[in-house]
């Protein structure tokens, strides 16, 4: 194979969709072509990093007060102890694994997102299919456990990612068209209102898988809005 390997073929290769002989051809070319080797490495690394993100979400820190209050086992503001992972009911036949593929342009954006998400809080880059596969963590006991710290860390990271993206948006308000900015703010207000409603409802019913799933979906939507806004800011910066 003397011609360069297309980005589409590289994505196929990373996804394991090619035959052994096709893979041999690609590996032979990539081995001798620096440009393709760089692209292939970037795609492989980014996809691997995205797949390594935990497919989980958890209740935001501020929701803990309400949940703990209802449980009557943890005083408000304290750190929860042992976490119990509750598997959500899943579809009888799980949807096929969603493919993650990139163009060269997207790789740069993915790197930014990965950087923002760091070790990963949400499955923001994995897409909606993972909703039905998500797990949600909650707790029932006193402060101090490792599991609780993990949950708390995860919450903290989610908040950190949101904060980072909001900071980018705030600093970039001046470069966005007024109509676009209004749209973004309205979208965020819509999602925040939905999240607030669900958090209140979770205070009354902290173990509701329906509410937890809705919360996770809205958190994901919010991250999507913020990501697109941050990308728009960066494109014009």
């Amino acid at each position: 194979m003397s011609e360069h390997v297309s980005i589409g073929r590289m994505n196929d290769a990373v996804d394991g969709l090619l035959s052994a002989s096709e893979m041999d051809q690609i590996e032979a070319h990539v081995g001798g072509c620096g440009a393709c080797r760089d692209d292939y490495a970037r795609i492989s690394e980014t996809v691997a990093a995205l797949r390594a993100l935990p497919r989980s979400a958890s209740v935001p820190e501020k929701t803990w007060a309400g949940i703990a209050g209802r449980l009557g086992t943890v005083s408000q503001g304290s750190t929860p102890d042992e976490a119990t992972v509750i598997e959500l009911p899943t579809a009888a036949a799980p949807p096929p694994e969603r493919r993650i593929s990139f163009t060269v342009t997207q790789l740069a954006a993915a790197a930014i997102v990965l950087s923002a998400i760091s070790a990963g809080t949400m499955w923001v880059a994995l897409g909606p299919t993972e909703r039905s596969e998500s797990t949600f963590a909650t707790t029932q006991a006193a402060p101090g456990g490792a599991a609780a710290r993990a949950v708390s860390t995860e919450n903290t990271r989610y908040v950190e990612v949101v904060d980072q993206l909001e900071q980018i948006l705030e600093e970039g308000r001046g470069v966005l068209a007024p109509g676009t900015l209004v749209t973004i703010e309205e979208s965020l207000a819509t999602v925040d209102a939905a999240i607030d409603e669900i958090e209140v409802a979770l205070g009354d019913d902290p173990n509701s898988d329906l509410l937890l799933r809705m919360l996770a979906n809205h958190q994901r939507t919010k991250l999507g809005v913020l990501q697109r806004a941050a990308a728009a800011v960066q494109a014009q910066a």
């Binding site: 297309s6 749209t183 806004a229």
Partner: protein, 356 residues
Amino acid sequence: MNGIIIGAIAALSLVQQTDTTFAVGTAELLNVETMGGSIQVGVWDRDEIRVQAEHSSRTFIEIDRGRREIQIESEARRGPANLVDFRITVPRTFGLELEALYGDISVEGSDGTVEAGTVQGDITIVGGRGTVQVSATTGTIIVDDADGQIEIESSSADIRVTNSSGEIYAETAGGTIVLENVSPTVVDVGSTGGRVHYDGAFEPGGTYFFGAHGGSITIVVPEEASASFNVATVHGSISSNLGGQVESLRSGQRHTFDVGTGGALVEAETYGGRIRLLRKGSEGANAPTLRRTPVRDGTEALLGLEMAFGPMFDMDHDFDFDFDFDLDLDLEHVIDFALHGHSETERVREPATIRR
């Protein structure tokens, strides 16, 4: 005096035409990026790409022809490019990556992969095979006759998918989602602030998830459908006429039931919105009308560019600045117009180079 200068500037800023056609060689992907203006892509059965563009004289079109990818960008010798309206014709199976920060994007008849993104503008994709990825902050997104993994993300745009198959994923914070006359095997769509409407097939073994918060979900179920339904709302309402009579189901709990022998799995969830399961042809089974928010006059696009880069047509400069600036930029274009009747400023680099 001032009026004369402005008149001169206007004359020199006449819309330019770029029109060039070239062979695609071994490339299989087209990437187009523009800050403002529209991108229209059509197809033909030739191994060539034709690029037609309208732009101001200070803007030129740069075409990088790589072995794998052809990249087209609008550039300006000084500062950002102005609005550019592209009309591009590509081989039918060519892959497309289209990005317009402020502007509409349309694709007609593609049999290749399509990726299209805009911050503000309408996106219309007719065709697309394999992967169709569409993203917009605001505007209306329409996908028709696509097949494959269809992924649509938006902040507030309304989304409409018709006559398509494969897997459909769609998410919007504030818009409405309509899927009509589709036959997908996987659907996963959700709107936080808008409505969701589905009128399509339920394939055996397929999975279909519909989510909304305060808006309604309407699922139109064909007579021949065979599916297991799993629906729930926290504070909304659920109604169904699948059994022949309109019946209401309790909120606050999950309801599961089969239609036919099962086969497909259909899930619908709302927080406060209404879930309606309707037989095709029932009252209320018609899809809602989507709003359109075109930016075709370019006003908002220009405003967006100005917000980002400062005034694009600033008349407040003194005489010397205006004169030097425009004369320097436009002289060769004026000559081009005089000699050729159109601008020759597209930059087609030979030999082909690969941009990374």
